[in-house]
Amino acid sequence: MANLLEILKKKEVVLLLVIAFLALLSGGAWAMYQTQIPPEQPIQFPHNIHVGLQIQCLYCHPGAQRQASAGLPTQQKCWACHGQLRKYSDPAAPVALNLWPTELQKLAGYVERNEPIPWVPVYQVPDHVHFNHRPHIAAGFACETCHGDMSKKTVATVGETVNMGWCINCHLENSVEDPLKRTKLIDCATCHY
């Protein structure tokens, strides 16, 4: 023990320890930052334009109303509107594909090749968490409560820190006067199985 203390008195050893500690700290910070940046999407989808056109969230993400996963739109769903936009596909004066906006060209490419669009889910929970959209929508929560104001975002980003504390906080706040509801909402088995 005394030997160890002697070693720790050396300046070089202390310096080395400090460097090691800082390296670990910055590594941790970098890893945490990595979880917060939005993933690369195949198409830089502008949510703000679509929400600005008064398109409902549930039009493209209909699963939220009836199942666990809200779902991401297929190319057929995109093309149902984009295939008949007067601006580009007017039968009288069609605009050549190479004059379309870049992101729409990508969409047209997926439609032409009949490939699914490989969207990357942004809001993800670990495998041991079973989130279900349906009861949340049924309880009358608006999408922006968790997903932020999409009329101000282009590509989807994570607006909230999605962790258990955040879930439980909301569950506690919304079950203040109903002990039976609270039992259900803070039960382990509600999400973890």
Partner: protein, 251 residues
């Protein structure tokens, strides 16, 4: 400095409380076909450990069909086939021994649940379980190629070092409750069915609400043919085993 008082942990169970979900297994109907074992493994992403690991007693079945010898060797008599799964005890011996609260009693569903992300693999719970129904993931068992395609997305794929056990197919219970809530009614009898009950060709396993006295499982549980495994331990098991007696299945 004041030491914060650690709340005393004990399974909150009241004498005579019948529980919420229960099961009745008719041993006179069970043919020991193992369909429940296969269905359970497929529903709950239970891996196959292979012969060598099974030889070490590391099999991962959440349900097993048990058959015992009665008597000394030449005059042995076989007991009836008996599917044994987690008994979802009202006063579970596995719960108070977990140092990290990974095995807890679900107050909402009245079930004994295993929280995989909390489990650190001390295996105390399995050692304290009188029914030996808790199984431990000794390794990340290999799932050869077509098998991952049949993973159930509603159930966690457990990692190495995690204890697991029968959940009464809580994912199906949740689905039924969710549907019932959306339609503004109570869960119907037989609406939530675990994989074993669904797969049983002899209809030997019946599952349902125990707090509804009119449900099929409640009637069977009250039957004089019924008994509980190791009832004398006071674990308040939620699975009733039926054997012999009256021909009337509800009698």
């Amino acid at each position: 400095m004041a030491i914060p008082k650690i709340p005393e942990f004990k399974a909150e169970w009241k004498e005579g409380e019948e529980g919420r979900w229960g099961m009745a297994v008719d041993m006179d109907l069970c043919t020991g076909c193992q369909a429940c074992v296969v269905a359970c493994s497929m529903e709950n992403n239970v891996p196959f450990v292979g012969e060598a690991e099974a030889g070490y007693g590391r099999s991962l079945g959440w349900i097993r069909v048990e058959r015992l010898w009665e008597g000394q060797y030449p005059e042995v008599k076989m007991t009836p086939y008996q599917p044994v799964m987690c008994q979802q005890c009202g006063s579970a011996p596995c719960e108070p021994v977990c140092p990290v609260f990974a095995t807890v009693h679900s107050q909402a569903e009245q079930l004994n649940v295993q929280v995989y992300n909390r489990c650190v693999g001390t295996r105390y719970c399995a050692n304290n379980c009188p029914y030996v129904v808790r199984v431990f993931n000794w390794a990340d068992f290999d799932r050869p190629d077509p098998l991952p395609n049949q993973f159930n997305p509603d159930v966690t794929v457990r990692r190495r070092g995690v204890m697991e056990k029968c959940t009464f197919c809580i994912q199906r219970i949740h689905r039924a409750e969710d549907q019932a809530k959306a339609e503004g009614r109570e869960v119907l009898d037989g609406e939530a069915q675990p994989a074993c009950a669904q797969a049983c060709p002899a209809d030997a396993i019946v599952f349902g609400r125990l707090d509804d006295p009119e449900s099929r499982v409640s009637k069977l549980s009250r039957s004089n043919r019924g008994s509980h495994l190791l009832e004398e331990l006071g674990t308040q098991p939620r699975v009733t085993y039926l054997k012999g007696g009256s021909n009337d299945r509800l009698g």
